[in-house]
């Protein structure tokens, strides 16, 4: 019964579709929002009209027309679709793609620059760089003769597949074998966004602390490769290598681990050999 005026309408509970109705419910939802349906009655239903339930300002009887529909759709569906399209496009172009993620200042740009330069005899690399603002990183890479496109995300804390799709239009993919995507420096948000990459590479610099993987598990969990960077500073930073690798193993259990310094070149050859072995088959 209508609790406000006792008119006897609005008795029925919320309409819940039968199992399986989710996908076919498009035609069954009742579009009318008329109060008490089409049945006319002559008393007014004007405010004040207070309800105990906090969820709606509508009258109870309107609930009879409400439908709960199971959708079960990922909020990332749109991104995942574009990422898959990107992946197919890269494959057709014969380009191997890595998505490089880390916190700000852990050495992404230096690593990318040295990777691109040191591998120039074996394969050709191009770069898409994501930052909230400035063209600094791309300019730095271009100055080293590495094709680079800067994506400025504005206030957005991660790159998504659509940004990569757009950035690719500015890069000559036919002239490269490896596309390195430098994601926005952030250990949280980029984890959820597939860009269409073949490998996800996560950096952990020795100056950051050994427990970073434990603090940011979703991102480290998603890594295919974990690179411990700035190894030349390990002693000065009091780096506990054993502890760090144990932490990485706990969270990034699928990841291949490398330790290197892009600055001194220490450990770079193992990383480059690995990368080369992955890039070559796709060409």
């Amino acid at each position: 019964m209508c609790t406000e005026c006792g008119c006897g309408l609005g008795e029925s509970k919320q309409a819940v579709p039968q199992p399986g109705a989710g996908d076919t419910a498009h035609g069954t939802a009742v579009p009318s929002t008329d109060h008490h349906g089409d049945e006319p009655h002559d008393h007014p239903h004007q405010p004040p009209h207070h309800h105990d339930h906090a969820d709606s300002t509508l009258h109870d009887s309107d609930q009879s027309k409400r439908q709960i529909v199971e959708l079960n759709r990922s909020l990332l569906t749109k991104n995942e679709r574009i990422a898959e399209r990107n992946r197919g496009f890269f494959r057709a172009k014969g380009v191997f793609v890595i998505n490089v993620l880390s916190s700000p200042g852990s050495g992404k740009t230096t690593l990318i620059q040295q990777t691109a330069l040191a591998s120039s005899g074996r394969f050709r690399a191009g770069v898409i760089v994501g930052d909230l603002a400035t063209d600094n990183d791309a300019a730095r890479l271009r100055a080293a003769n590495i094709p680079a496109v800067q994506v400025n995300t504005g206030t957005v804390c991660h790159l998504d597949a659509a940004m990569i799709e757009q950035a690719c239009a500015k890069l000559d993919l036919d002239s490269i074998d490896l596309l390195i995507i430098e994601n926005v420096g952030n250990l949280v948000c980029p984890a959820a966004y597939d860009l269409g990459e073949n490998l996800r590479v996560v950096l952990l610099s020795v100056t950051e602390g050994e427990d970073k993987p434990l603090k940011y598990p979703p991102l480290f969990h998603s890594a295919n490769v974990a690179l411990i960077t700035k190894s030349d500073l390990a002693a000065a930073a009091g780096w506990n290598r054993e502890n760090a690798i144990a932490n990485l193993r706990k969270i990034s259990h699928h990841a291949v681990i490398f330790e290197l310094s892009a600055k001194t070149g220490e450990g770079m050859s193992a990383w480059l050999d690995f990368l080369s072995s992955r890039v070559r088959p796709i060409r």
């Binding site: 035609g27 906090a54 969820d55 409400r66 529909v69 957005v156 959820a192 598990p217």
Partner: protein, 113 residues
């Protein structure tokens, strides 16, 4: 802080469904958020009201179902809930490499009229 963008997507999906079903209002959204999704439910709630404003979903209720991270231990042949995101089996201490649940970020259902 990508919760605002995700919430925008959830509300857009709900509004699209409402429009396709001939409904004019969205009353409720139920999300499923996994412990490993990297999303903070409070930030989603914060974004929800702002995102709904001025749309047919204004005033709607947001419900969030939390999904714990669950791993499979191949040695014990059983599932276990991961504490602190470390996928170590509490019985045999083997590290599991199979995360079965916990990355969900879904719009489970909508209530429309």
């Amino acid at each position: 802080m990508h919760e605002v963008g995700l919430m925008q997507e959830a509300v857009r999906m709900a509004l699209d469904y409402a429009a396709s079903a001939g409904a004019s209002r969205v009353h409720r959204l139920r999300l499923r958020v996994g412990a490993m999704s990297g999303v903070v439910p409070d930030a989603l709630r914060f974004a929800f009201d702002v995102v709904c404003r001025g749309t047919p979903a204004e005033g709607a209720v947001l419900e969030i179902d939390h999904v714990p991270a669950v791993c499979w231990c191949s040695k014990c042949q059983s599932e276990f809930e991961c504490e602190d995101f470390i996928n170590e089996c509490p019985k045999c201490h083997e590290i599991s490499s199979e995360l079965r649940r916990g990355t969900e970020l879904d719009l489970a259902s909508v209530e429309v009229s």
